[in-house]
Symmetry: C2
Subunit: 400 residues, 2 copies
């Protein structure tokens, strides 16, 4: 049979990791702290029905929803990004610099199409988001890990690795990071933007969680400190509107947007029209503000419950992060517990799923094998209690 | 500034061709025979409102529409492809072998991700669809033209070029081809499938127009003659349901689908859920049959009007195709008329747009520069009459 392209064997390791370390997401008997899906209570079903019903009554808008549309996205939605999402966070942008994508993952994919040649180096946080690593490997990049602490990516280690490896791109999830929930400190955001310019490296700032902050104060994105276009911001509507709609966006300079026009054309012509229109109307009809407050309250309660339960049920010596937003918490168990090995038993016997930590480390070799990513966003508080108690018991039993 | 990837300079020539030879599509004053959009009358606006209203009333289905979904597409829609679109055309398939994509272009993109290394040869029809060529160039393939006549791709020339160039892939639009409207003869379909197996070449059969046949009889797709998985079928819902929904599909063997799972994950996680559900319900609630008849009647009338008007208004020596379906007709003007040069004048003075022929030839060098692609699908008959009369006058004036 015809051989697959070289890039396919490149992505096999991370794809296999994903398949091995996730899993059991959809079994209704399992309490899953695994997936990164938003809570079902956070999905605006009734609002969407109302908006759809209304826009499809007008012939003009109905046709707009079903006909081919603009490559870079509808102007209404690009304006929403500028006026409702970026401006209130201190980022000045023009809607001509916004590209609507089919979700945040497509933004990563398109920026790899634009920048990555086989063999290019991408610096990533240690740990980093496994699905982005999968995209980078598909584009035959070599990912090198940069250390992080409770303030996010270590900028001294970053600069040293820029000098050592001459990377093409730095990939960073600055806010309520996936998988750790850690937020990059303000002075480091500024520093990373400066390093991008100083060393002529693209900063890919992937910020899909920033709008779900339920404690602490907003921080300016790295993009706000960018003086010459080296930082490109990618974001998603998955957590604040609807994951299944597959809507995201890129903020970049004119020259980059110009090239992304061709890449988007050659990816899927444009993003699906009805979801774009529904999302724009969701903001323009004023639904976002109350919805946003509701989902932040919901996730805050779940985070609080999760922290309380981990502290209560997990063994002594367990460390966990304290996320100020987003959906994830990172748990480091006492040495000797291998979370990859524990997963099958956890799913089969305790009926609890999580994502084993080692898959998030591009270093491989067992790093993070006593860690787990705990997603609390899609689990109701009472199930968080039951699930953590069961999981905690299982872990304690292993310590003997 | 950071350099773009090598593939970006590769795709610049076809991207520039597209921008130069299309254009003026959206000016409401212009009668446009340019774009490939379906007729607005062919978009099921009222049906979609009714279905949306209904499915979003149920909490379960409403959440399904807004939450993350399966990578390869929802099972309802994969079943629709198998039972409603493939089985009636003589193709037996299992829904496990269907991958739902965000439109037909994404199917082409994903199959390039799977198979194409930089420098690989892809054989294409002469002329072929310019946006697919753009994708192939983004993946740094070299496209080589294979001759075609009124029965489609010339299989003798194809075999000679397979032997000469050792291609990775053969790209063919067998039914009501874009840009010519020509349909590949049955015996050639069989032959192409055999050549794929004999020489171990992937046949990418791109068949988005096949379901809009309004005269003549259905022909089996190339895929129906495939014995060992060398032929992969790509299709789209853009012409039979809605272009703006960005829905398409791939039919391929297990091993290929397995790899496409990883590629789709690393492209955009999955295709937007609400459009998938609406499309599946459109079929499952029985709307397709009457809608299909309506759009075929509509396009047949437009084709008939277009043929009559070209014969009436265009100069002696003009040749045109007689498509049995689809949206396009190919017109070859007498030598001496350069359609690329004429386009600006046609748009500015005659207020008529078309796509100049030479952009569809990967050979470049002016081939097809007396040809034009005429899209009649989205223009009402009375405007077809006015537009062809104006365009015909302009062309005749050039012949002196």
């Amino acid at each position: 049979m015809s051989k697959f392209a070289k890039r396919i064997s490149n992505m096999e390791s991370s794809a296999a990791v994903v398949k091995r370390l996730f899993g059991a997401m959809n079994d209704p008997e399992i309490i899953s702290f695994g997936g990164g899906a938003p809570a079902k209570e956070a999905l605006p079903v009734d609002i969407i029905r109302e908006i759809t019903n209304d826009i499809m009554r007008t012939e003009k808008r109905g046709i707009e929803a079903l006909q081919y549309g603009p490559v870079l996205g509808i102007s209404d939605l690009r304006d929403v990004v500028v006026n409702d999402l970026l401006a209130p966070k201190g980022v000045n942008a023009k809607s001509d610099n916004i590209v609507i994508t089919s979700g945040g993952m497509e933004a990563i994919n398109m920026l790899c199409q634009l920048y990555i040649n086989p063999g290019d180096i991408i610096l990533v946080e240690s740990p980093s988001f496994v699905h982005s690593i999968e995209v980078f490997e598909m584009f035959q990049a070599n990912c090198i890990a940069v250390g992080m602490d409770e303030k996010g990516m270590d900028t001294e280690d970053l600069e040293a690795k820029i000098i050592k490896y001459n990377p093409k791109m730095i990939y960073v999830i600055p806010t309520f990071q996936n998988p750790t929930g850690i937020t990059l400190a303000l002075e480091r955001r500024k520093k990373i933007a400066e390093l991008g310019s100083k060393y002529d490296v693209i900063i890919l700032e992937d910020d899909p969680y920033r709008d779900i902050r339920y404690s602490g104060s907003d921080l300016l994105p790295i993009k706000a400190f960018d003086r010459d276009g080296h930082t490109i911001l990618a974001n998603s509507f998955s957590k604040i509107f609807s994951a299944g709609s597959r809507l995201g966006y890129i903020l970049a300079d004119d020259e980059v947007v110009n090239k992304l026009f061709d890449i988007k054309t050659a990816t899927n012509s444009h993003t699906s029209m009805l979801p774009q229109i529904l999302c724009a109307e969701f903001f323009n009809r004023g639904f976002y503000s109350a919805h946003h407050k509701m989902i932040c309250d919901l996730y805050r309660e779940r985070r609080d419950t999760m922290m309380e339960c981990i502290d209560k049920y997990f063994p002594e010596g367990t460390k966990r992060t304290t996320p100020d937003g987003g959906l994830f918490m990172w748990v480091e168990l006492p040495k000797g517990i291998n979370t990859t090995e524990l997963l099958a038993e956890s799913v089969a016997d305790a009926k609890v799923a999580y994502v084993a930590g080692e898959g998030f480390y591009v270093e491989r070799g067992g790093k993070g094998n006593n860690c787990m990513r705990i997603s609390f966003g899609s689990v109701a508080p009472e199930k968080i209690r039951i699930g953590t108690e069961r999981l905690g018991k299982l872990i304690c039993s292993k310590l003997g």
